[in-house]
């Protein structure tokens, strides 16, 4: 299982600050988006626009995620 931190509207839609999804070590961010949509239906409308951070840095859809990585998903930022 891969633990994923959620923030802002993503946290609200999922109803949790962190979720776990089924994961095979080394799959990509593209796969993560698919699995989020399948396993957390409430997140589905937001999935295409979610930003993904691995080990506290933004990553693109072809990035690989390890089971030991710190992963977070959240909507576009709006600080300031």
């Amino acid at each position: 299982m891969l633990q994923i931190k959620l923030f802002a509207r993503a946290k609200e839609l999922a109803g949790a600050a962190a979720i776990e999804i089924i994961w095979n070590d080394g799959e990509t961010v593209t796969r993560l988006r698919e699995r989020l949509g399948e396993q957390v239906p409430a997140l589905k409308p937001l999935v295409p626009r979610l930003l993904v951070a691995v080990n506290r840095d933004y990553v693109k859809d072809d990035a690989v995620i390890r089971l030991t990585d710190e992963v977070a998903c959240f909507p576009p930022v709006s600080g300031g």
């Binding site: 931190k5 923030f7 802002a8 509207r9 506290r56 840095d57 933004y58 930022v77 709006s78 600080g79």
Partner: protein, 137 residues
């Protein structure tokens, strides 16, 4: 000095912390909770952060700014939690030898903060509704 806080930002102390005899220019930017967005009236804002990543991204921004301008000292503070109208949500203070550098560096820091630091705000509108601010960058 870069940090996130749940309590009101002491911008006087922040400004003092970047002053030094090496710098002839100090620029302070304050972001405050604005009442009107178009025709809609804000009562309050709620801020949330991914604290570990926000701190890391702010440190990166400082490093990038230092590589572009001859910055002496930098202070960035972002408030989190519930903020009433008029309260300060973010403060950026920067000191440089000359004013143009200080203005440019300060503008860079606040502009980049708004696009790359994982912090979000939720509007509390005067009709009682709440809505996450969703900007297209």
């Amino acid at each position: 000095m870069i940090f996130l806080t749940d309590t009101p930002i002491d911008y006087h102390a922040l400004t003092e912390s970047v002053r030094s005899p090496q710098s002839g220019a100090v620029v302070l930017f304050l972001g405050t909770v604005r009442e009107m967005t178009g025709d809609r009236r804000t009562l309050a804002l709620e801020y949330e952060a991914y604290p570990e990543m926000a701190s890391a991204k702010l440190a990166e921004l400082e490093e990038t700014a230092r590589s572009r301008w001859p910055i002496d000292r930098v202070g960035v503070v972002h408030r989190l939690g519930h903020l009433e109208l008029g309260e300060i949500s973010v403060a950026v203070a920067v000191s440089c030898p000359h004013r143009r550098q200080a203005f440019e560096a300060g503008q860079f820091l606040i502009d980049q903060l708004k696009v790359s630091v994982p912090i979000w705000k939720q509007e509390n509108w005067d009709d009682g509704s709440k809505e996450w601010v969703d900007l297209q960058h």
